[in-house]
């Protein structure tokens, strides 16, 4: 894989704070490549993030970057997008950040269909605080706050977003970074609220406790489980059991909120 454009990285801020084996760097690199691929001007791109391991990505990217409060990244981004609709906003969140404390903002950003590109790094765990279960932790998996395995059922994040009105939903994973880059790139080109769920590994706070092995084993399992949308259409229910759909799950056209707003006031 070719080198990342140094212009888009704050190389002086490296090394990053993430643990050995963490998938956040892979997803961040895919995001940077997708921004390159989209051909945006550097000054038009804004990275917004919440709180948690994944949200620290903003600090390493050489754009205008906004590291907000826990769960509120999409609400900050909504204000900024409405004030400056010409800017291209990428919103990086973790699974807890986006779907627990930020769940309300997530469904309402989807409902408005505001042109924000949400990239959710889903490692199924709260990593920064040391391994608590999130709304995306699969039932039965262990966490410090679910020592016997969580009894709760997880959200299907993309279906949640679709139900709330999101017009683009895709899933990729850290084991297939090239595909992930393409998915983020397609999300960027989509007008409206887009959601890219990037499955990622947390060997330290999740893998170790659940005996999933190290980063390599976790990535291998991620890759083995992933089935593209195209391939899945040829498989039956039994074959799809324990598989994870990857690719663009849905993409539909609908009026975009900031554009509709400015049109309604005669400024578009």
């Amino acid at each position: 894989m070719e080198q990342l454009t140094q212009d888009f990285l704050r190389t002086k801020k490296l090394p990053h704070i993430w643990c050995p084996g963490c998938g956040n760097g892979i997803v961040t690199a895919a995001l940077v490549r997708a921004i390159e691929r989209a051909g945006y001007n550097q000054q038009d791109v804004v990275i917004v993030s919440g709180i948690g391991c994944s949200s620290r990505a903003a600090g390493y990217l050489n754009f205008n970057t906004l590291h907000t409060t826990h769960g509120r990244a999409l609400a900050f981004a909504t204000g900024l997008k409405m004030a400056r609709p010409e800017l291209k906003l990428f919103v990086i969140m973790g699974d807890g950040d986006c779907s627990a404390i930020g769940g309300n903002h997530f469904i309402h950003a989807a409902r408005r269909n505001i042109d924000l590109n949400a990239v959710i790094i889903n490692n199924h765990i709260y990593g920064m605080t040391g391994g608590q279960h999130s709304p995306l932790t699969p039932t039965g998996m262990k966490a410090t706050t679910a020592p016997g395995g969580t009894l709760e059922r997880p959200f299907d994040l993309l279906e949640l977003a679709r139900g709330a009105g999101a017009t683009f939903g895709a899933r990729g994973n850290a084991a297939q970074p090239r595909q992930l880059e393409q998915l983020i790139s397609r999300a960027a080109n989509h007008k409206g609220f887009s959601v890219v769920e990037a499955l990622s590994q947390c060997p330290i706070a999740y893998g170790r406790r659940n005996k999933l092995g190290g980063a390599v084993e976790m990535l291998r399992e991620m890759k083995d489980k992933a089935v593209s949308v195209e391939k899945a259409s040829t498989m039956d229910v039994d074959e799809l059991k324990d598989k994870t759909l990857s690719g663009v799950i849905y993409s539909v056209d609908a009026p975009e909120f900031s554009e509709e707003y400015y049109r309604s006031i005669g400024k578009a």
């Binding site: 801020k13 550097q42 600090g59 906004l66 907000t68 900050f76 909504t78 204000g79 800017l87």
Partner: protein, 375 residues
């Protein structure tokens, strides 16, 4: 300043009109009694002006959206009341830390909790000071009339921009819903401080040398904004000297401009024996008392009204305490600002609280009766 066009309006309307006059073009909010009229007026007016009105999914999101829009370069306002104001606190702290200008209106209602939503009270004075966590600076204005609401909102927007500091407009239900005459200045006659468009090449968002204007996102200055302690470029730091310097910086700017921020007004006898210190709607009852006692009967009585509650008018209170024997502090709460008065009076005057917390205003008679004990 030439003032024309007397208009009859509500305090909440004056707040919205003042904000618009000061260049506010972005409003994000959530419905709550008794502040909803601010949102309704903004929803009606901002689109015509090319601005943005957005009703968010909750109070937390409203505060977040306002900060986001400010970073985009717009002048912003949000309004709420007790319960909603509580929800905004975390993001208010963020705006203080990240030095993002914005104005937050809290039209107080009777609390705690859901309380009496339609009853007036002044119970949020300490919440405006210490509502968000950590050792933070804050500016709070408390108007006593519709007219003052209009002008203090303009001052709030200007100061917020100049100091890159959130400013709170603390109204009470009486001021918010009362209708009074306001003289709206002609267009162009208001002092609206322009944001600087002179950005030096070596601009830093949190320059160690002092206050710098906020350069909005999207103009090629690639800085970082975070609620973490940060260096002069905005990047996170846990380095003790830098942490201390950053906290000194956000407090220092308020100290430096203290005399522009702290606004008070004294009426009454030049050598008063009894002084009333009041703010918000309570000023009105106190003024009625002083009118009768001093202007009619020449008794040694005065009123120090506080337009600024935080930073607290320490020097002004200390000075008046040296003159007066007794200071009466009427408040529609169980005693909040009275503690500050005591602190700065330094034992130079007897401090007498007068509290009412039944959802009704303090009447002039209540104050007069108390006043009678010393005159």
């Amino acid at each position: 300043m030439a003032e024309t066009k007397p208009v009859l309006m509500q305090g909440n309307e004056a707040c919205a009109e003042g904000a618009i006059s000061a260049g506010v073009r972005f409003y994000a909010g959530y419905p709550i009694t008794p502040s909803t009229e601010v949102a309704e007026l903004m929803a009606a007016k901002l689109p015509e002006l090319g601005g943005v009105f957005i009703q968010m999914e909750d109070e937390i999101a409203s505060m977040a959206a306002v900060i986001g829009a400010s970073i985009g370069g717009m002048r912003t306002l949000t309004a709420s009341s007790g319960p909603g104001f509580s929800l905004k606190q975390e993001n208010i702290g963020y705006a203080i830390m990240a030095e993002i200008p914005c104005v937050i209106v809290n039209v107080q209602r009777m609390g705690p909790s859901t309380g009496v939503p339609t009853a007036p009270a002044q119970g949020d004075v300490m919440q405006t000071r210490w509502g968000t966590h950590g050792d933070h600076p804050i500016i709070v204005f408390s108007p006593a009339s519709v007219y003052e609401t209009f002008y203090l909102t303009i001052a709030a927007v200007n100061l917020s921009q100049k100091l890159r500091q959130p400013v709170i407009m603390l109204l009470d239900e009486v001021i918010g819903h009362m209708r009074e005459k306001v003289l709206i200045p002609e267009a162009g006659k208001l002092l609206v401080e322009k944001s600087s468009d002179n950005v030096p090449a070596d601009w830093k968002p949190y320059d160690e040398k002092g206050l710098t204007p906020l350069v909005p996102f999207g103009f090629g200055h690639y800085y970082h904004v975070t609620g973490l302690f940060h260096d002069q470029y905005g990047f996170p730091t846990g380095d003790p000297p830098q942490v201390e310097r950053a906290l000194d910086r956000i407090h220092g700017k308020l100290e430096k401009y203290r005399d522009e921020i702290v606004l008070t007004n004294y009426i009454g006898h030049k050598e008063p024996r009894v002084v009333i210190i009041a703010y918000g709607c309570t000023v009105r009852s106190a003024r009625a008392v002083v009118k009768k006692a001093y202007w009619q009967n020449r008794l040694p009585v005065g009123l120090l009204s506080l337009q600024t509650l935080w930073p607290f008018p320490d020097k002004e209170v200390a000075a008046i305490a040296k003159q007066a024997d007794v200071i009466i502090v009427p408040e529609m709460n169980m005693g909040q600002i009275v503690g500050e008065v005591e602190r700065y009076a330094c034992g130079n005057a007897e401090i007498v609280p007068l509290n009412r917390y039944d959802g009704e205003m303090i009447s002039p008679d209540q104050i007069s009766e108390l006043l009678g004990r010393w005159l």
